[in-house]
């Protein structure tokens, strides 16, 4: 029984990876654009904040902003299943809902972690970024990827078209990452922004990544825990929406 479950989950993961690679455009742009952005803008951050802090800020800004935009990978992977009616078809198969979720989420998580890893590796190799605690940083990257996957899944279940989804992650992603102090440090923002910043997951992602890069374990763990709480809320919303949307009542 357990072997069957593993086999089905493996088949779902392989299938979802294949779907992602069959239409590689969105994935490639989410991987390449952050590197271009970082390469072009890091001198600006270095000039404003000094070399070391400037590079850290540039890396964090790039990761948070572009990973927010990369929520589209999770959202569109769910929404296209709804549009193609394959979501219901999978639900009518012998697979357990948990197998379906793991099969769907694993490639998305991997893509989001890979995106962050690519930026960090590029910054370390080309810009001389120094990472104090690599395992801590990996933990933070995973927590942030889980949060983004949950938020992307919720969006994918709430919206009813690809254009609505694009609008949500373009506007929402930029808004939440700016509000969280990713692009411009909060210290340079108006006071009211500093007060509302903690409602944005972007704020906690910036905190967690900065802390992990500096080696501040406790701050990184606290911020990661808050991120996971955001992720859990998003997953709950996604779960409730999914439970209501099986069958012909999916709203598409």
């Amino acid at each position: 029984m357990r072997r069957d479950a593993l086999s089905r989950t493996g088949a779902l993961i392989r299938h979802n990876v294949m779907l992602m690679l069959r239409e590689p455009g969105p994935l490639a742009s989410r991987m390449i654009l952050p590197l271009v952005f970082l390469l072009l803008l890091h001198p600006l951050y270095e000039q404003a904040q000094g070399q070391r802090n400037g590079i850290t800020q540039a890396v964090v800004a790039t990761i948070v902003t572009f990973s927010m935009l990369a929520m589209s990978i999770a959202g569109s992977s769910i929404l296209t299943e709804r549009i193609w009616h394959t979501w219901e078809r999978l639900r009518a198969s012998a697979a357990h809902p948990a197998e379906l979720l793991v099969g769907k989420a694993t490639p998305v998580l991997a893509a989001l972690v890979l995106q962050q890893g690519a930026v960090l590796a590029f910054a370390a190799a080309v810009l001389g970024l120094r990472v104090a605690e690599v395992p801590l940083l990996l933990l933070v990257m995973l927590a942030w990827a889980v949060t983004l996957t949950g938020m992307g899944a919720a969006l994918g279940l709430l919206v009813s078209s690809l254009s609505s989804l694009a609008a949500c992650y373009d506007i929402g992603g930029m808004l939440l990452s700016s509000l969280g102090g990713a692009l411009v440090p909060l210290a340079a923002m108006p006071i009211w922004v500093r007060h509302v910043a903690p409602v944005s997951p972007g704020y906690w992602a910036v905190s967690a990544l900065e802390a992990a890069l500096r080696g501040d374990t406790s701050r990184a763990l606290i911020a990661s825990a808050v991120l996971l709480a955001f992720g859990a809320c998003a997953c709950l919303i996604a779960g409730l929406r999914a439970a209501r949307s099986w069958g012909r009542t999916s709203g598409l």
């Binding site: 086999s7 299938h15 779907l19 078809r89 198969s93 099986w246 069958g247 009542t249």
Partner: protein
């Protein structure tokens, strides 16, 4: 293999199912027919666990499909009404996924894909993306995904809607072969000739319940068809209904027992008839000489009308 009893499903004030009962044995093909909104698709969704009924029972192969839906789904192959394919994936990729979800692996999986592709004439398009297939090929791929897991119960929800003759022929042959191997089949459709080809028994759904169940021969027996007489004279075709009836009556005086069943439609005299040869003889004996005669056999609409009248009469 499939026993459903007393299924009730409400959506707000509307009852999609209202005491739906259906039993299908192993090796039996049941044509589930009825107008749109009769409850056919809701029934399929309940059996596959997509929708939970408000009350009632469903067992599949002895497994309680409402209590242990996943165990029951292992026995089921389903082709939903709406196309449900990964359009950016190839036909092979689609089939491989559904075969793997049904528990097939390795050489069994490969053989199952080859076999079902051959049965449904998809071998030449296995490497093509599903989104690039013709409508008929997509229908066949959808059916292949239902058949591939070697299910013991097949639920095919209007599998040939809009399909070309090749698709229909391939699909019917595949369904017949599965039934001959002991698979129970529920086949929803609006095409009676398909069910005749399949040798299916009929279950007629109306307003969320099965109102008639039996062989086609039994259910259709005694239903009136139609005797259609085209008379000479263009004026009849152009005249309004009442005037056309008057002109027809003048041109073709019918005995009273036939006149009560006759009406003028599009320049034809149409007589509801359970015994067309006898009625035609009566028409000719009355001195009416049509330029052409056509006999329409009773169809599903006649069956629905007849059953609806029976239900209304009983109420």
């Amino acid at each position: 293999m499939l026993v459903a009893s007393g299924l009730i499903k409400r959506y707000g004030d509307r009852r999609a199912l209202d005491g739906f009962d259906l039993t299908v044995s192993a090796g039996e093909i049941t044509g589930l027919v009825g107008h749109n909104g009769a409850g056919k698709t809701t029934f399929v969704e309940i059996v596959t666990g997509l929708v939970r009924p408000d009350s009632g029972r469903v067992t599949v192969g002895g497994v309680d499909a409402l209590g242990d839906s996943r165990q029951a789904r292992r026995l089921i192959g389903v082709a939903p009404q709406e196309q449900a394919l990964y359009v950016t994936a190839t036909v092979h990729d689609n089939l491989r996924l559904f075969a793997a979800l049904a528990g097939l692996r390795g050489s069994r999986l490969r053989q199952a894909i080859e076999r079902v592709a051959e049965d449904l004439r998809l071998s030449d398009v296995l490497g093509q993306r599903a989104g690039l297939l013709s409508g008929g090929q997509r229908r066949r791929t959808q059916a292949a995904a239902a058949l591939i897991g070697e299910p013991r119960l097949l639920l095919l929800d209007e599998p040939t809607a809009g399909a070309d003759p090749e698709t229909r022929q391939a699909l019917l042959a595949a369904v017949r072969a599965r039934a001959a191997a002991g698979v129970a089949v529920v086949y929803t459709t609006h095409y009676l000739p398909e069910l005749a080809d399949l040798g299916a028994t009929l279950a007629v759904a109306r307003a969320g319940r099965v109102i008639a169940r039996g062989s086609q021969q039994n259910l259709m027996h005694g239903l009136p068809g139609e005797l259609r007489l085209r008379l000479d004279g263009a004026a009849i075709g152009r005249a309004a209904t009442a005037a056309a009836n008057t002109l027809m009556a003048r041109r073709c005086p019918l005995p009273p027992e036939l006149a009560g069943r006759a009406r003028a439609v599009d320049g034809e005299l149409r007589i509801s008839s359970a015994d067309p040869p006898a009625d035609l003889a009566a028409v000719l004996a009355a001195g009416c000489t049509p330029v052409s005669v056509d006999v329409r056999k009773p169809d599903l609409d006649d069956l629905y009308r007849s059953l609806a009248a029976e239900v209304a009469h009983a109420a």
